[in-house]
Amino acid sequence: MLKNLSTWSIKVILFIILFFLLDFSISVFLVGGLMRYYGIGTHPEILIIGHSHLMLGVDKELLENKTKLRVAKYTREGATIEDRAIMIRQFLNKDSSKIRVIVYGVDAWMFNEEKLSENSYKMLLPFLSDTIVQDYIKNKCSSFEYHKNFLIKTTRFDELLVSSAFRGYLSKWTNLKFGQVDTISLKKDLLKGKHESIKVDPEKWKSFEKTVNYINSKNIRLVLLYVPTISIYNNLDSVNFKAINDKFVSLESKYQYVKYVDLNPGLSTHYELFYDPIHLNPSGQKIVTKMLSTHLKKYCITDSIK
């Protein structure tokens, strides 16, 4: 029995060691792919930060071609203001030497995060070894979940992150959603009240301004980019929509290196550019990227503060 027990124990231990080796190798491989995909450690001059709105709004490769500058696009679906603050700190902590501009996606609904996932922090799990991310996640999840993710590295990923890692190795940065928004159904849905309201959670605004202040203190230009949202949607609550826009504009005068670029005028009524009320389709993405490159050239690149 004892001999059997020792052979059995050796086999179990060997299996566990093999699992952890495999777990470690896979996670190293995937983190490497993600770093390439997001451009972390690639010494970019332009950093794009936002959620899916900006992800589908800007084409990284086209922007690089137009500006002749290296671009990192660190955008994730559902990233909240808090997540984005951590993403910026994580990025700058690792690689801030050449960054001249940060493009930060803004919209009228960003201070009302009811529809965004409460566990959006999970998208940052692959970077758990980064101290900034580590502190953030420690506060966000349960102790069990934290230690599970700490111990078994592959649990930090999901299929989207795995796919992004592979895209990083394949240098495939396209984010496209084909099709056009069905405005008739959209109007019906809006009439039924199927939409988010525009409101500003003071805590969220404070957190956002803290990020603006942080970037400003690093002497890096900040472009607050409003990728257009469809006018039918914007006009639902035009008073609050304008109020938020005014708040963004006010930041320009408050902070030295902040520029607010609102691409709604002229584009939000072109329904053919939208995949859904918020996200652009490839045609919309192309136009917005070109317009952004013009703005970047005009405001930031020629007028470098670094």
Binding site: N4, F19, D23, T154, T155, V162
Partner: protein, 490 residues
């Protein structure tokens, strides 16, 4: 406490340690206490219902065992069945009956002042009721004797690996195992670990991922195209299989850890070449229960009422078969849930069985029996049976009968329309890959490839380690946060 959750794994490890460390005479009490803790974890009131049912049936069984006359024994059997089934009917079907009454009264333009009672269904009640009904019938028939030890009987009713969704235990096989002493066996631990891992992979990686596509489509079928509904139908066929067989694997593995072998519930069901073959491979413990306690008695009773060789031009055997199948599958549908969708799902199988019966008759009459068994025809039959069972699953999954009928309509009229690729197209693509992988693995299993490879020790060792490492990494990398098992609601 779900099987695939860390808390269950800790619980299982704790019970396993206590079971092997503490004196042997305590083992039955350890398992009994663990079973009640496990069950009361969901809701302590469920434990009271289970305890009440256990006491009631124990005394009925005792009283039956001390009777010599058959008529008196039958009285106690009837009392036990009535009591157990009334509890099941109250918890499972009261609201359904009230709702149906309200619907009918609306049609008749009558508005009675009746309301739903919103009764919470104790998880697993259908399973342990069937289990105890089987036991009482076996005691009555004399297949087993009354279990004198109350703790053993209580454990038979509440054994934690099987209480929530089976497999439905049989007194003839489960009770003797509960009485036996099972010394620690290292190979058994390894086997249990492997089977548990397979179950986790099926549940967390395949079933829960497929649910991400299936749930929103079935929640609102009217806003989806025919091709999307077809995809969701196929996905659901695999989701329910992986969900339930994954659960069963984990249940079997947990029981095996204590040396108790529960009945396997699945045997490659989607490789069935006829509807009757499908039910020999799908939810086997339920099929066998229905066969022994519903189908056979009904067939026997019908045969006594049909003494002539032919009725209306049909052989009496045909009528006996069709009557027994109709009653069995109507009950099977109703057992699955208090909803018209389940009842119609049961009727769908009555139709499929009847069709299968007549097709077999035609094949025999036309002398095509040899052709019928040839491999290409068999493959076609397997595909046909898969399509039929998948179509039947639509009724099983649809929220209402109206939804189900709409899906059928779209499946046959709107297949060329644009397909929705899910909230995450990556996840949907991965789902397709996983289904393809599962089918490929099972094709090899069906052909006995894996069994043959076990003879080759070198291959077996390398393959086995790689396979289980793959499963473990798969669970940790691609496992979706576990949700409740589909069969818990029955």
């Amino acid at each position: 406490m779900l099987f695939a959750s860390p808390i269950y794994l800790c619980f299982l490890a704790g019970v396993f340690l206590a079971y092997n460390i503490l004196p042997q005479k305590w083992r039955i009490y350890i398992l009994l206490a663990a079973s009640y803790i496990f069950y009361c974890w969901l809701d302590w009131r469920f434990g009271l219902i289970l305890g009440g049912m256990t006491l009631f049936n124990y005394f009925c069984s005792y009283l039956m065992s001390v009777q010599i006359e058959k008529a008196s024994r039958k009285r106690y059997l009837q009392l036990s069945l009535l009591g157990s089934l009334l509890v099941l009917i109250y918890f499972k079907y009261t609201d359904f009956f009230i709702e149906s009454c309200i619907d009918i009264s609306h049609v008749l333009d009558v508005h009675p002042n009746i309301h739903l009672l919103n009764i919470i269904l104790p998880v697993g009640i259908s399973f342990y009721t069937f289990q105890v009904v089987g036991y009482m019938t076996d005691v009555y028939r004399g297949s087993v004797t009354h279990e004198k030890n109350f703790a053993t009987f209580a454990l038979f009713m509440s054994f934690f690996p099987q209480i929530l969704a089976g497999p439905i235990g049989r007194s003839t096989t489960l009770l003797p195992q509960l009485r036996e002493n099972h010394p620690l066996d290292l190979n058994r631990i390894t086997d249990s670990g492997k089977q548990f891992l397979i179950g986790m992979f099926k549940k967390l990686v395949i079933a829960d991922r497929l649910a991400m596509f299936v749930d929103p489509v079935f929640a609102n079928p009217f806003s989806h195209s025919g091709s999307t509904l077809a995809m969701a139908t196929v996905f659901y066929a695999f989701q329910i299989y992986c969900d339930f067989s994954g659960y069963t694997d984990m249940a079997l593995a947990s029981a095996n850890l204590f040396g108790i072998k529960l009945q396997p519930n699945f045997n490659l069901p989607y490789f069935a070449d006829s509807i009757s073959d499908f039910w020999k491979r799908w939810h086997i413990s339920l099929s066998m229960w229905l066969r022994d306690y519903i189908y056979t008695p009904i067939a026997w009773m019908t045969s006594r009422k049909l003494p002539k060789a032919r009725y209306f031009g049909f052989k009496s055997e045909t009528l006996i078969y069709l009557t027994a199948v109709t009653v069995t599958f109507s009950l099977c549908g109703f057992w699955h849930g208090a909803n018209w969708t389940f009842i119609f799902w049961g009727f769908a199988y009555v139709l499929l069985f009847a069709t299968g019966f007549f097709v077999n008759f035609l094949v025999k009459s036309a002398g095509l029996k040899r052709l019928w068994k040839k491999p290409p025809v068999r493959i076609l039959r397997i595909l046909f049976v898969f399509c039929m069972t998948s179509l039947a699953w639509v009724l099983f999954r649809a929220n209402t009968l109206e939804d189900g009928l709409y899906i059928y309509k779209k499946l046959f009229t709107d297949l060329s329309s644009q397909m929705y690729t899910g909230a995450s197209s990556v996840s949907t693509f991965l789902s397709v890959l996983l289904i393809a992988g599962l089918v490929l693995y099972q094709v090899f299993e069906y052909n006995g490839f894996w069994e043959r490879q076990k003879q080759n020790r070198k291959f077996s060792l390398v393959f086995s380690w790689s396979f289980y490492l793959f499963l473990l990494v798969g669970v940790s990398l691609l496992g979706v946060s576990s949700s409740r098992f589909i069969y818990f609601k029955f």
